[in-house]
Symmetry: C2
Subunit: 391 residues, 2 copies
């Protein structure tokens, strides 16, 4: 057996996205102790950078030492106790995962379902809140990675405030890619991932909790069922007024990488990063539509960082994705769940959201589709991309 040297891919799937070389270099810096004063200082900076990225003053803001799924579990397992009721608005895979989490906490999930590819219906959500006056929280996904749909977080948080329950937001794919205002929108609990629009390596999950949510956690009647994710304990290590006491061994090098990725975001500026994602999406859209592919999400609710497109029945999904990967080292995503086999998910996330990748994707996909017998005009598609950038 030999050392593993991965192929050098361009990652335009649903994540992980291409990692900025600056971040890979940061990742490989010498490991130091997780209680080293130098490391503690870096943790403080990371908290501050995360607060800026989330646009929040929340004291309880930190990265969970595990991937986004563990961030989701951190939120539910800390906020819920047995018998609690949570309204979940589902319009894709990740709402379903929320349901699993809620039920495994011994709580009740009240589902409000919308079609995959549609945004969350605000009226249906309000009806559920009216019907369930004792709901503890309403939970939903900001950027559904399985469908490419954005939900109206501001409106949904407004409902949470109106009906006096907590708002829980999945921001795994939204943080750094589209507007997200934790304090202004009144989000109570939010979790994200590092491997999407932060363009960091996978393995960490930034979370943030409002003071109201933090109080719910501090005043629980029962212990959090997970020791590893119990924020009442974790805060002894991450809290600013804490003794920095040992809880678990932090993933030191991954945190170097997160610090660097947040610094890059700060240098660019949040608004600039959002604008860049929007622009590259417009260019990709122009190119792919010219190739004859259809976006499955209505224009108003499309995510710039996750583009779900359908393709003609004559095209074989797996053949195309294999050709992209094997011949061009280009990864795009397959459909997930109800959309498996019928859509591709093309990511333009973080560092990967750039002009070169848009042109690469349009031209390579055009060539592969042409080889599959689809009548496409690649030069026209490339020109359409160029026109967006020239405008």
């Amino acid at each position: 057996m030999k050392s593993f040297h991965p192929p050098v891919r361009t990652l335009m799937g649903p994540g992980p996205s291409d990692v900025n070389p600056r971040i890979l270099e940061a990742l490989s810096r010498p490991t130091i102790g997780h209680l080293d004063p130098a490391f503690i200082q870096m943790m403080d900076e990371t908290k501050l950078l995360l607060q800026q990225a989330f646009k929040t003053d929340n004291e309880l803001t930190m990265p969970v030492s595990a991937p986004g799924s563990a961030g989701m579990e951190t939120v539910f397992t800390n906020l819920l106790e047995r018998g609690d009721k949570v309204i979940i608005c589902q319009n894709g895979v990740f709402g379903g995962r929320m349901k699993e989490n809620v039920e495994r906490c011994g709580a009740e999930a009240i589902m409000v379902e919308d079609a995959w590819g549609s945004t969350i219906d605000i009226d249906k959500a309000e009806q559920a809140l009216t019907d369930t006056p004792d709901a503890k929280a309403i939970a939903f996904v900001h950027a559904e990675t399985s469908t490419g749909v954005r939900s109206d977080v501001q409106a949904l948080c407004g409902l949470a405030a109106k009906y006096d329950c907590l708002s829980i937001v999945d921001a795994v794919t939204s943080l750094g890619g589209i507007e997200l205002e934790v304090d202004e929108w009144g989000i109570d609990a939010i979790y994200s991932g590092t491997q999407k629009c932060l363009s960091c390596v996978p393995g960490l999950s930034p979370v943030s909790f409002s003071e109201r949510a933090a109080r719910v956690i501090r005043e629980r009647k029962s212990k959090v069922q997970s020791w590893f994710l119990d924020l009442n304990l974790v805060m002894g290590y991450w809290g600013s007024d804490a003794k920095r006491s040992y809880h678990h061994t932090a993933p030191v090098n991954s945190l170097y990488a997160l610090h660097e990725s947040l610094l890059i975001l700060q240098e660019e500026g949040l608004q600039n990063a959002w604008n860049r994602h929007a622009l590259n999406h417009e260019a990709l859209l122009a190119g792919l539509e010219t190739l004859g592919l259809k976006f499955i999400v209505d224009k108003e609710f499309r995510l710039p960082q996750l583009n779900a497109v359908s393709f003609p029945d004559s095209i074989d999904d797996a053949t195309v994705r294999s050709a992209l990967l094997n011949d061009y080292n280009l990864e795009i995503g397959a459909g997930l769940g109800a959309l498996a086999g019928s859509v591709w998910r093309i990511g333009l996330m973080g560092f990967a959201s750039n002009k070169s990748n848009v042109l690469l994707c349009v031209s390579v996909l055009g060539n592969v589709l042409a080889a599959q017998g689809m009548p496409v005009d690649v030069s026209k598609a490339v020109a359409a991309v160029g026109a967006v950038y020239a405008a």
Copy 2:
């Protein structure tokens, strides 16, 4: 705010240990997708390398995507259901953490306590098994990181077999450092960490389950309370006959690092690695005893990779550790829990277990203790180290 450039330390605490530069380089290789065929192949190799390191044929062998504490939780949360009884032999911090885990699963922890610094009393463990015929498992720590004590896993697993219950072993600090024979000793469930004797970065937890334990997990009556750690789901991604379906996004780069560290262990050979840890321990022991420090653990049960020593009352714990860290970039560990303030824990783990580190530690610690007014003969201590290596 600027990029974080950590000081270059020598890590001789309780972990993380010094990471081999080969592993840091592996960590920084380009990120690829977690469903990329090239990555799946590397996962298969990692499973095989882990089986070799654990000395097991267990099919259910893989790294959990989070630190050792999450590995512990994976074991308990998957094996236990509400109302189960587990005997826990505690002689340090980590037995106490096991109790927390068991109780948060709604199960009952029956504690068998031994003094911190003592090994686990086999007779007391057997008495507990006799007194609790319906115990589902007996759990204990192989290498107690808080005290530097080794327990007799083979004898304890023999008891588990005799009384027909599962054996659960914490091998966070033992894997790669001292003899560990998962199949030969009949271990049913085991978890470890990457940041100790594997000298990899912190953040992953290798686990392995016997077929008997795997069956217990497959045949549970209730769902595992953690979605993220539910092995019935995780195996859809890591299992050899699985469809490699998406569960969570694997920490891709950390897994490159684990693969490299296991490869380094394979190249050296397990027995050679154990011998190296034993030899460097003997040399450190000779040096520290010559300086006048006392090992708190009886010779028979000392861990070569974690050396707990007490120091005279006249010596100020924090002053010495700060001097080592600030003046020499040398990290050693403070006492933990009941031993806080009264012992140091000096690690010689994995890559950090080498002659240079032993000499560095003895000479630097000698100098610092001399500066604190302790009558030490540094040259004699250094000579004692040399004599062990010359023998």
